[in-house]
């Protein structure tokens, strides 16, 4: 099994929001990808966006500017 690392996880209410976020973040060339929602996060839809921890603010800014809905951003050791 892979080594655990600190990641940020962007959680969405619906798959549609996650899809919109993927399009948006790829457009902005943000490093990361859609992953299954970690079980320790109880809310949100089944897919989430995972990126390295230092990108949290940048992602928040992009999603807000582009009007993409998300529920929360968590930092997770996974």
């Amino acid at each position: 099994m892979r080594e655990k690392k600190l990641r940020i996880v962007v959680v969405f209410n619906t798959t549609t929001d996650a899809m919109a976020a993927e399009v948006c973040l790829k457009k902005h060339k943000v490093e990361g990808r859609l992953i299954p929602l970690p079980s320790e996060i109880s809310a949100g839809c089944g897919m989430s966006w995972s990126s390295p921890p230092d990108l949290s603010e940048e992602i928040e800014e992009i999603l807000k500017t582009e009007g993409i809905r998300y529920e929360n951003i968590y930092t997770v050791y996974m």
Partner: protein
């Protein structure tokens, strides 16, 4: 075979639609059920199709308020049952298909919902002033078709939407016969819910359809179940589109619908409309003066590409059967699931033969159909 039953379903689909369905069947996992590439491919395709539909219909709720289901009938059932409350008053028209009428009649029977109908005259026309005259304090919604599937009359949804807005009513539109051919804009026309099917004038596969929901319009779920999200919540998620989409989506069909929407975009709605109207007009002009022919509807009005007729005292089933078995021309006889429109036209006893045209029909086919009708009129 000449296929002139396109108001029932378009037979000829663009090749790219067929290719997209095959590709999807070879590659798609389940939408929103994981983040492996196969599931994501399906999720992305469905999401892109939502965007295309939201754009086509000017959906104020955006892609997130664009919901998929099987067809217009299911969409109308979800919208009507999910919006209308016990004791509400609803206004609809005589031109409706049973996909509007039966959900409303059931609410009338089971939920004490009161119905009023804008009446159609013997030519299938309605008077728009009647909508306002029928409004009362309990009126909740106007539910109506954009185009009659029997006569082809296109209703002025700008007027109806304006009345709905003026009186604070919800406007639910059945776009079964108009999506992809006539301009529809939820915002400009004050439409709250558009119910559409993919397999008719949108040229998509059967089993694809859905609704666009204006921002702020609340629809109770018709079904609940698996959504791929919020597994441990006892209840259906509140958020659109999953609120109304329990169970596995028809992503294979939706991929085909997506390709069909691309075809419409590339071809241009206006070009599609002009060609279909031209074919319908050519057929109408070709047959209208035959002896023994009776044509229904008003040809001075804006029309969908439908021409409905009868010949002499023959039953519509006999005419349509003769057209199919002798001339290999596919048409639709009978009641067309539009009982009140037949009552208005006086055709309950023998039905009507409906010729409906598609972008993929040719002038040669129309001329052959005219010849066939000419022969039948002489017999």
């Amino acid at each position: 075979m000449i296929y002139l039953d396109n108001a029932a379903t378009t037979l000829h689909k663009p090749q790219q639609v067929i290719d997209a369905v095959v590709l999807a069947m070879e590659n798609f996992g389940n939408v929103a059920r994981g983040t492996h590439e196969e599931s994501l491919s399906a999720s992305r395709a469905v999401f892109n199709t939502r965007i295309k539909l939201a754009t086509l219909f000017g959906c104020t709720g955006g892609a997130g308020n664009t919901v998929f289901c099987q067809n217009s009938t299911e969409a109308l059932n979800i919208a009507i049952n999910g919006i209308i409350n016990e004791g509400d008053h609803v206004i609809t028209t005589d031109l409706e298909h049973n996909s509007v009428l039966r959900p409303l009649y059931r609410l009338e029977k089971e939920k004490n919902v009161k119905l009023d109908f804008v009446r159609a005259d013997i030519n299938g026309n309605i008077n728009y002033d009647d909508f306002e005259k029928l409004i009362n304090q309990k009126t909740r919604a106007i539910v109506c078709t954009h185009a009659s599937n029997l006569t082809g009359l296109v209703l002025d949804i700008n007027i109806i939407g304006g009345i709905a807005k003026k009186y604070g009513l919800l406007f639910i539109l059945d776009a079964s016969q108009s999506a992809g051919v006539f301009d529809i804009n939820m915002k400009d026309m004050n439409i709250d819910v558009i119910c559409f099917t993919g397999h008719k004038s949108l040229f998509g596969p059967q089993g694809t359809g859905g609704m666009c929901i204006a921002r702020g319009v609340e629809i109770r779920p018709f079904k609940t179940g698996g959504t791929g999200i919020k597994t441990f919540s006892r209840y259906q998620p509140e958020e659109y589109p999953v609120r109304l989409e329990a169970g596995t989506l028809n992503s294979h069909g939706i991929a085909g619908l997506s390709a069909a929407l691309d075809f419409i975009e590339e071809t241009g709605i206006e070009n599609i409309r002009n060609k279909e109207e031209g074919l319908a007009r050519r057929f109408y002009e070709g047959v209208k003066d035959f002896e023994n022919i009776k044509i229904y509807g008003d040809y001075t009005k804006k029309r969908a590409p439908i021409v409905s007729l009868n010949i002499g005292d023959y039953d519509s089933g006999a005419i349509s059967d003769e057209l199919a078995s002798v001339y290999e021309i596919a048409t639709r006889p009978g009641g067309h699931c539009a009982p009140r429109a037949h009552e208005a036209l006086g055709t309950v006893d023998k039905g009507i033969v409906r010729f409906s045209f598609s972008y993929f029909n040719t002038e040669e086919e129309i001329d052959e159909a005219i010849e066939a009708v000419a022969e039948l009129c002489k017999k």
